[in-house]
Amino acid sequence: MDVRVQSEPFDAGALLNDFSAGHKDVGAIVSFTGIVRDVADGLRSMEIEHYPGMTTKAIETIAADAMARWELTDVLIIHRYGALTAGEQIMMVATASAHRSAAFEAADFLMDYLKSRAPFWKKETTEKSASWVAAKNDDEAALDRWS
């Protein structure tokens, strides 16, 4: 399990290759990369605040839940904080499994939980205004899929 919380950009392709290397028992690798989208008013920056004392622990708990729930060989999670601009990569998860469905479901699960249970908060500053991104009711509802 590899969990990284960092402000620096990351190289998703290099990380995917490192993650894939040296697993002969793995048949399936799924990756998800989240990217800052531009918004209607023109995004000047996306500021991601986090709770340093809690973030890594919270993500490790989510990753351990996934590994307990599916037959996974490995899990990678990277999440950035700080100021990002449109087009930048915010975060990435990767899952490795002997089974395709396990790799897909676990990656989807990780994303649902990272969204609602890892202590990050996004603030969008556009050319016109600045506001905290509101959590969606859907985000919470998404967790019910896994209970």
């Binding site: 989240g34 709770y51 622990k57 990272l114 609602s116 890892a118 908060w121």
Partner: protein, 82 residues
């Protein structure tokens, strides 16, 4: 003494990221009541408790969680990671 932390718009509304509080509150809810009584900006930040989440010693908790032995309490809006 408990370290109390605020994140995102809770931090902005209260105007500081963290403070040490001398309290005899038994639960998170008691602590919230104490804070609200303190100053208008706290009262405003905690006005709608359903819009807030709390972590006790860096783990998500409920507002009726006990504070005995607790060192750190954090208040924040629902998370928006991913």
């Amino acid at each position: 003494m408990i370290d109390v932390m605020y994140f995102a718009w809770v931090r902005e509304r209260i105007g500081l990221p963290t403070e040490q509080i001398e309290t005899s509150a038994q639960t998170v809810a008691d602590l919230v009541a104490e804070l609200r009584a303190k100053e208008e900006r706290y009262d405003a930040a905690f006005a709608d408790i359903t819009a807030l989440r709390v972590a006790v010693d860096q783990e998500l908790a409920d507002f009726d969680a006990p504070l005995a032995g607790v060192r750190e309490v954090a208040f924040f809006p629902p998370m928006t990671g991913g």
